[in-house]
Protein backbone atom coordinates (compact mmCIF):
# COMPACT_ATOMS: atom_id res chain seq x y z
CA UNK A 1 0.00 0.00 0.00
CA UNK A 2 1.43 3.38 -0.96
CA UNK A 3 1.34 6.18 1.63
CA UNK A 4 -1.43 8.01 -0.21
CA UNK A 5 -3.75 5.02 0.16
CA UNK A 6 -3.02 4.79 3.86
CA UNK A 7 -3.88 8.44 4.35
CA UNK A 8 -7.07 8.02 2.41
CA UNK A 9 -8.03 4.94 4.42
CA UNK A 10 -7.46 6.84 7.67
CA UNK A 11 -9.59 9.71 6.42
CA UNK A 12 -12.36 7.34 5.34
CA UNK A 13 -12.33 5.63 8.69
CA UNK A 14 -12.59 8.95 10.51
CA UNK A 15 -15.50 10.02 8.31
CA UNK A 16 -17.25 6.71 8.95
CA UNK A 17 -16.79 7.11 12.69
CA UNK A 18 -18.48 10.49 12.59
CA UNK A 19 -21.31 9.29 10.38
CA UNK A 20 -22.01 6.26 12.54
CA UNK A 21 -22.34 8.35 15.63
CA UNK A 22 -25.87 9.43 14.94
CA UNK A 23 -27.17 6.33 13.26
CA UNK A 24 -25.69 3.25 14.86
CA UNK A 25 -27.96 3.00 17.86
CA UNK A 26 -30.99 3.14 15.60
CA UNK A 27 -29.53 0.34 13.53
CA UNK A 28 -29.38 -1.69 16.75
CA UNK A 29 -32.99 -0.80 17.52
CA UNK A 30 -33.97 -1.74 13.96
CA UNK A 31 -32.27 -5.13 14.32
CA UNK A 32 -34.45 -5.78 17.35
CA UNK A 33 -37.66 -4.83 15.56
CA UNK A 34 -38.46 -8.39 14.57
CA UNK A 35 -37.83 -9.84 17.99
CA UNK A 36 -35.30 -10.09 20.74
CA UNK A 37 -31.68 -10.95 20.19
CA UNK A 38 -28.43 -11.32 22.13
CA UNK A 39 -25.16 -9.42 22.02
CA UNK A 40 -23.10 -11.74 19.86
CA UNK A 41 -25.87 -12.00 17.28
CA UNK A 42 -26.34 -8.24 17.12
CA UNK A 43 -22.56 -7.74 16.88
CA UNK A 44 -22.26 -10.16 13.96
CA UNK A 45 -25.19 -8.60 12.15
CA UNK A 46 -23.68 -5.12 12.47
CA UNK A 47 -20.11 -6.07 11.62
CA UNK A 48 -21.00 -8.26 8.62
CA UNK A 49 -20.30 -5.57 6.02
CA UNK A 50 -17.60 -3.73 7.98
CA UNK A 51 -19.42 -0.42 7.56
CA UNK A 52 -21.61 -0.04 10.63
CA UNK A 53 -19.05 -1.27 13.17
CA UNK A 54 -15.44 -2.27 12.74
CA UNK A 55 -14.72 -3.19 16.38
CA UNK A 56 -17.48 -5.44 17.69
CA UNK A 57 -16.63 -4.42 21.25
CA UNK A 58 -17.99 -0.92 20.69
CA UNK A 59 -21.47 -2.43 20.56
CA UNK A 60 -21.52 -3.09 24.30
CA UNK A 61 -21.23 0.46 25.61
CA UNK A 62 -23.97 1.27 23.11
CA UNK A 63 -26.25 -1.51 24.39
CA UNK A 64 -25.59 -0.35 27.93
CA UNK A 65 -26.65 3.18 27.03
CA UNK A 66 -29.76 1.99 25.22
CA UNK A 67 -30.76 0.00 28.25
CA UNK A 68 -30.05 2.88 30.60
CA UNK A 69 -32.19 5.21 28.57
CA UNK A 70 -35.01 2.67 28.53
CA UNK A 71 -35.11 2.01 24.79
CA UNK A 72 -34.32 -1.67 25.20
CA UNK A 73 -35.05 -4.10 28.02
CA UNK A 74 -32.98 -7.15 28.86
CA UNK A 75 -33.67 -10.60 30.20
CA UNK A 76 -31.49 -13.62 30.90
CA UNK A 77 -32.21 -16.71 28.90
CA UNK A 78 -30.71 -20.19 29.11
CA UNK A 79 -28.84 -21.17 25.97
CA UNK A 80 -28.66 -24.64 24.48
CA UNK A 81 -24.90 -24.74 24.99
CA UNK A 82 -23.00 -22.78 27.56
CA UNK A 83 -23.91 -20.12 30.08
CA UNK A 84 -27.16 -18.09 29.98
CA UNK A 85 -27.33 -15.17 27.57
CA UNK A 86 -28.66 -11.71 27.98
CA UNK A 87 -31.40 -10.98 25.45
CA UNK A 88 -32.32 -7.50 24.34
CA UNK A 89 -35.73 -6.39 23.14
CA UNK A 90 -37.35 -3.11 22.18
CA UNK A 91 -39.45 -1.23 24.71
CA UNK A 92 -42.35 1.02 23.75
CA UNK A 93 -39.96 3.96 24.02
CA UNK A 94 -37.53 2.14 21.78
CA UNK A 95 -40.18 1.56 19.14
CA UNK A 96 -41.13 5.25 19.27
CA UNK A 97 -37.47 6.34 19.02
CA UNK A 98 -36.95 4.09 16.01
CA UNK A 99 -40.07 5.46 14.29
CA UNK A 100 -38.89 9.02 14.94
CA UNK A 101 -35.48 8.24 13.47
CA UNK A 102 -37.01 6.70 10.36
CA UNK A 103 -39.21 9.76 9.85
CA UNK A 104 -36.13 11.99 9.98
CA UNK A 105 -33.65 9.78 8.24
CA UNK A 106 -35.25 9.48 4.84
CA UNK A 107 -35.58 13.20 4.11
CA UNK A 108 -32.08 13.68 5.53
CA UNK A 109 -30.59 10.98 3.34
CA UNK A 110 -32.38 12.29 0.28
CA UNK A 111 -31.24 15.83 0.97
CA UNK A 112 -27.63 14.72 1.32
CA UNK A 113 -27.88 12.69 -1.89
CA UNK A 114 -29.36 15.63 -3.76
CA UNK A 115 -26.68 17.97 -2.45
CA UNK A 116 -23.90 15.56 -3.44
CA UNK A 117 -25.32 15.06 -6.92
CA UNK A 118 -25.97 18.75 -7.41
CA UNK A 119 -22.44 19.61 -6.44
CA UNK A 120 -20.95 17.59 -9.26
Amino acid sequence: MVPGDARQAALDSRLLTNLRRGALEYCVLALLRNGESYGLDIAHALSADGVLITSEGTLYPLLSRLRKSGLVATSWRESAAGPPRRYYKLTADGIAALAAFERTWEPFRNAVDRALKGAR
Binding site: R21, T54, T58, Y60, S64, R65, K68, S69
Partner: protein, 255 residues
Protein backbone atom coordinates in the same frame (compact mmCIF):
# COMPACT_ATOMS: atom_id res chain seq x y z
CA UNK B 1 1.09 -23.53 31.03
CA UNK B 2 -1.12 -25.64 28.76
CA UNK B 3 -3.13 -24.32 25.84
CA UNK B 4 -6.40 -23.95 27.73
CA UNK B 5 -4.68 -21.97 30.48
CA UNK B 6 -2.98 -19.76 27.92
CA UNK B 7 -6.32 -19.07 26.24
CA UNK B 8 -7.89 -18.13 29.54
CA UNK B 9 -4.92 -15.91 30.39
CA UNK B 10 -5.26 -14.08 27.07
CA UNK B 11 -8.95 -13.45 27.67
CA UNK B 12 -8.36 -12.32 31.24
CA UNK B 13 -5.60 -9.96 30.15
CA UNK B 14 -7.95 -8.41 27.61
CA UNK B 15 -10.74 -8.06 30.20
CA UNK B 16 -8.26 -6.59 32.66
CA UNK B 17 -7.08 -4.00 30.12
CA UNK B 18 -10.69 -3.18 29.34
CA UNK B 19 -11.54 -2.76 33.02
CA UNK B 20 -8.65 -0.32 33.43
CA UNK B 21 -9.62 1.58 30.30
CA UNK B 22 -13.20 1.84 31.56
CA UNK B 23 -12.23 2.92 35.06
CA UNK B 24 -13.62 6.39 34.49
CA UNK B 25 -17.15 5.03 34.10
CA UNK B 26 -19.60 4.51 36.95
CA UNK B 27 -19.22 0.98 38.35
CA UNK B 28 -22.60 -0.29 37.12
CA UNK B 29 -21.94 0.85 33.56
CA UNK B 30 -18.44 -0.60 33.61
CA UNK B 31 -19.68 -3.97 34.82
CA UNK B 32 -22.46 -3.92 32.26
CA UNK B 33 -19.99 -3.44 29.40
CA UNK B 34 -17.54 -6.02 30.74
CA UNK B 35 -20.29 -8.61 31.25
CA UNK B 36 -21.42 -8.06 27.67
CA UNK B 37 -17.90 -8.46 26.30
CA UNK B 38 -17.31 -11.57 28.40
CA UNK B 39 -20.50 -13.15 27.11
CA UNK B 40 -19.42 -12.24 23.58
CA UNK B 41 -16.04 -13.96 24.02
CA UNK B 42 -17.55 -17.05 25.67
CA UNK B 43 -20.20 -17.33 22.98
CA UNK B 44 -17.68 -16.89 20.15
CA UNK B 45 -15.33 -19.54 21.55
CA UNK B 46 -18.14 -21.99 22.26
CA UNK B 47 -19.02 -21.89 18.58
CA UNK B 48 -15.54 -23.18 17.72
CA UNK B 49 -14.98 -26.90 18.27
CA UNK B 50 -11.51 -26.74 19.78
CA UNK B 51 -10.42 -23.11 19.92
CA UNK B 52 -6.71 -22.46 19.58
CA UNK B 53 -4.76 -19.48 20.80
CA UNK B 54 -5.09 -18.00 17.34
CA UNK B 55 -8.88 -18.33 17.54
CA UNK B 56 -8.89 -16.47 20.83
CA UNK B 57 -6.71 -13.76 19.32
CA UNK B 58 -9.04 -13.41 16.35
CA UNK B 59 -12.09 -13.02 18.61
CA UNK B 60 -10.26 -10.39 20.68
CA UNK B 61 -9.09 -8.60 17.52
CA UNK B 62 -12.65 -8.46 16.26
CA UNK B 63 -13.76 -6.95 19.53
CA UNK B 64 -11.14 -4.26 19.06
CA UNK B 65 -8.71 -2.29 21.19
CA UNK B 66 -9.94 -1.87 24.80
CA UNK B 67 -8.99 1.79 24.60
CA UNK B 68 -11.18 2.26 21.53
CA UNK B 69 -14.10 0.60 23.30
CA UNK B 70 -13.53 2.81 26.33
CA UNK B 71 -13.35 5.91 24.16
CA UNK B 72 -16.67 4.93 22.64
CA UNK B 73 -18.14 4.38 26.08
CA UNK B 74 -17.12 7.87 27.07
CA UNK B 75 -14.46 6.90 29.57
CA UNK B 76 -12.80 8.62 31.20
CA UNK B 77 -12.38 12.09 29.78
CA UNK B 78 -15.51 12.35 27.69
CA UNK B 79 -17.98 12.80 30.52
CA UNK B 80 -20.09 15.49 29.02
CA UNK B 81 -22.98 17.50 30.30
CA UNK B 82 -25.81 18.83 28.26
CA UNK B 83 -28.66 21.20 28.96
CA UNK B 84 -30.94 19.25 31.30
CA UNK B 85 -34.31 18.35 29.92
CA UNK B 86 -33.85 19.65 26.42
CA UNK B 87 -33.38 16.27 24.82
CA UNK B 88 -31.18 17.78 22.18
CA UNK B 89 -27.46 17.61 21.76
CA UNK B 90 -24.83 20.23 21.21
CA UNK B 91 -24.37 20.83 17.49
CA UNK B 92 -20.80 19.62 17.59
CA UNK B 93 -19.76 15.99 17.58
CA UNK B 94 -22.59 14.23 19.35
CA UNK B 95 -25.31 13.68 16.88
CA UNK B 96 -28.03 12.01 18.92
CA UNK B 97 -29.50 12.14 22.37
CA UNK B 98 -28.29 8.63 23.10
CA UNK B 99 -24.69 8.77 22.13
CA UNK B 100 -24.44 12.38 23.09
CA UNK B 101 -24.21 11.67 26.78
CA UNK B 102 -21.07 9.69 26.35
CA UNK B 103 -19.37 10.94 23.28
CA UNK B 104 -19.76 14.70 23.39
CA UNK B 105 -16.65 16.55 24.49
CA UNK B 106 -16.62 18.00 27.94
CA UNK B 107 -17.62 21.50 27.00
CA UNK B 108 -20.88 22.55 28.57
CA UNK B 109 -19.46 23.45 31.94
CA UNK B 110 -21.83 26.41 31.92
CA UNK B 111 -24.67 24.00 32.66
CA UNK B 112 -23.06 22.62 35.79
CA UNK B 113 -23.73 24.84 38.81
CA UNK B 114 -20.62 26.67 40.00
CA UNK B 115 -20.24 24.69 43.22
CA UNK B 116 -20.58 21.35 41.45
CA UNK B 117 -17.83 21.83 38.88
CA UNK B 118 -14.92 19.50 38.81
CA UNK B 119 -12.35 21.98 40.14
CA UNK B 120 -14.36 22.63 43.33
CA UNK B 121 -13.02 19.71 45.42
CA UNK B 122 -9.45 20.64 44.52
CA UNK B 123 -10.07 24.27 45.43
CA UNK B 124 -11.71 23.43 48.77
CA UNK B 125 -9.08 20.96 49.91
CA UNK B 126 -6.38 23.20 48.40
CA UNK B 127 -7.59 26.04 50.65
CA UNK B 128 -7.02 23.89 53.73
CA UNK B 129 -3.55 22.93 52.51
CA UNK B 130 -2.82 26.59 51.79
CA UNK B 131 -3.99 27.51 55.29
CA UNK B 132 -1.46 25.03 56.68
CA UNK B 133 1.29 26.63 54.59
CA UNK B 134 0.39 30.09 55.81
CA UNK B 135 0.54 28.89 59.41
CA UNK B 136 3.96 27.46 58.71
CA UNK B 137 5.10 30.70 57.08
CA UNK B 138 3.76 32.66 60.00
CA UNK B 139 0.78 34.41 58.44
CA UNK B 140 -2.15 33.80 60.77
CA UNK B 141 -4.57 36.16 59.01
CA UNK B 142 -4.00 34.63 55.58
CA UNK B 143 -4.13 31.18 57.15
CA UNK B 144 -7.47 31.93 58.75
CA UNK B 145 -8.82 33.38 55.49
CA UNK B 146 -7.78 30.31 53.49
CA UNK B 147 -9.18 28.00 56.16
CA UNK B 148 -12.49 29.91 56.11
CA UNK B 149 -12.69 29.68 52.30
CA UNK B 150 -12.17 25.93 52.54
CA UNK B 151 -14.77 25.55 55.25
CA UNK B 152 -17.41 27.61 53.41
CA UNK B 153 -16.73 25.70 50.20
CA UNK B 154 -17.05 22.37 51.95
CA UNK B 155 -20.36 23.37 53.54
CA UNK B 156 -21.83 25.08 50.49
CA UNK B 157 -20.98 22.61 47.73
CA UNK B 158 -23.50 19.85 47.00
CA UNK B 159 -20.61 17.58 46.03
CA UNK B 160 -20.40 16.33 49.62
CA UNK B 161 -23.09 14.61 51.64
CA UNK B 162 -24.18 15.92 55.02
CA UNK B 163 -22.24 13.26 56.91
CA UNK B 164 -19.07 14.03 54.98
CA UNK B 165 -19.52 17.74 55.62
CA UNK B 166 -20.03 17.17 59.33
CA UNK B 167 -17.00 14.92 59.50
CA UNK B 168 -14.91 17.39 57.50
CA UNK B 169 -15.95 20.33 59.68
CA UNK B 170 -15.24 18.48 62.93
CA UNK B 171 -11.84 17.32 61.71
CA UNK B 172 -10.82 20.60 60.11
CA UNK B 173 -11.92 22.63 63.13
CA UNK B 174 -10.72 20.34 65.90
CA UNK B 175 -7.55 19.19 64.12
CA UNK B 176 -5.91 22.59 63.65
CA UNK B 177 -7.08 23.60 67.14
CA UNK B 178 -5.34 20.60 68.70
CA UNK B 179 -2.16 21.04 66.67
CA UNK B 180 -2.19 24.77 67.33
CA UNK B 181 -2.79 24.23 71.02
CA UNK B 182 0.02 21.73 71.31
CA UNK B 183 2.53 23.64 69.26
CA UNK B 184 1.80 27.15 70.42
CA UNK B 185 1.28 26.22 74.01
CA UNK B 186 -2.33 27.12 74.56
CA UNK B 187 -2.95 23.87 76.35
CA UNK B 188 -2.02 24.80 79.91
CA UNK B 189 1.18 23.17 81.03
CA UNK B 190 1.70 21.32 77.77
CA UNK B 191 2.97 23.96 75.40
CA UNK B 192 6.08 23.07 73.48
CA UNK B 193 7.50 26.52 73.75
CA UNK B 194 6.58 27.27 77.33
CA UNK B 195 9.18 26.54 79.89
CA UNK B 196 7.60 28.30 82.80
CA UNK B 197 4.62 26.10 83.42
CA UNK B 198 5.27 24.52 86.75
CA UNK B 199 6.06 20.88 87.39
CA UNK B 200 6.24 19.38 83.94
CA UNK B 201 7.94 16.10 84.65
CA UNK B 202 4.72 14.35 85.58
CA UNK B 203 2.74 16.06 82.85
CA UNK B 204 3.95 14.08 79.93
CA UNK B 205 3.11 10.44 79.61
CA UNK B 206 6.48 9.82 78.08
CA UNK B 207 8.61 11.09 80.91
CA UNK B 208 8.66 14.84 80.61
CA UNK B 209 12.07 16.42 80.12
CA UNK B 210 14.60 14.18 78.53
CA UNK B 211 16.15 13.74 75.17
CA UNK B 212 12.67 14.27 73.75
CA UNK B 213 11.00 16.56 76.24
CA UNK B 214 7.81 16.93 74.22
CA UNK B 215 7.43 13.54 72.68
CA UNK B 216 3.76 13.31 73.62
CA UNK B 217 2.94 16.68 72.10
CA UNK B 218 4.98 16.06 68.97
CA UNK B 219 3.51 12.62 68.46
CA UNK B 220 -0.04 13.85 68.95
CA UNK B 221 0.48 16.77 66.61
CA UNK B 222 1.99 14.41 64.05
CA UNK B 223 -0.92 12.00 64.27
CA UNK B 224 -3.43 14.81 63.92
CA UNK B 225 -1.61 16.20 60.87
CA UNK B 226 -1.61 12.75 59.26
CA UNK B 227 -5.32 12.44 60.08
CA UNK B 228 -5.99 15.84 58.52
CA UNK B 229 -4.16 14.81 55.36
CA UNK B 230 -6.08 11.52 55.20
CA UNK B 231 -9.46 13.18 55.67
CA UNK B 232 -8.49 15.83 53.13
CA UNK B 233 -7.56 13.17 50.58
CA UNK B 234 -10.77 11.27 51.29
CA UNK B 235 -12.97 14.35 50.85
CA UNK B 236 -11.07 15.24 47.67
CA UNK B 237 -11.68 11.77 46.26
CA UNK B 238 -15.38 11.73 47.14
CA UNK B 239 -15.97 15.24 45.86
CA UNK B 240 -14.07 14.67 42.62
CA UNK B 241 -15.85 11.39 41.91
CA UNK B 242 -19.17 13.10 42.44
CA UNK B 243 -18.19 16.08 40.28
CA UNK B 244 -17.39 13.70 37.42
CA UNK B 245 -20.56 11.76 38.07
CA UNK B 246 -22.69 14.86 38.22
CA UNK B 247 -21.68 16.04 34.78
CA UNK B 248 -22.25 12.55 33.42
CA UNK B 249 -25.64 12.19 35.03
CA UNK B 250 -26.65 15.56 33.69
CA UNK B 251 -25.59 14.34 30.27
CA UNK B 252 -27.80 11.29 30.36
CA UNK B 253 -30.75 13.01 32.01
CA UNK B 254 -30.95 15.34 29.05
CA UNK B 255 -31.30 12.44 26.62
Amino acid sequence: MNTADRRIAEVERYIHELAIALSGLPADEREDVIAGIREHIDGSLLAIADPTSADVQRVLDELGDPLAIAADAGAPAAAASRPPGTGTTPPSRAATPLSGAASAPRQDSANVPLLERDWVPMAVIGSFVLAGFFVWLGGPVLAFAAWLVGLVGLLASPLWHAVEKLFGVVVFVAGPAIVGGLVLGYVPGRGLFRDNAGPRVTDSWFGGYGAWPHLFELATAGIVVVLLAAVGAWLLARGSARARGSSRVRGSVGG
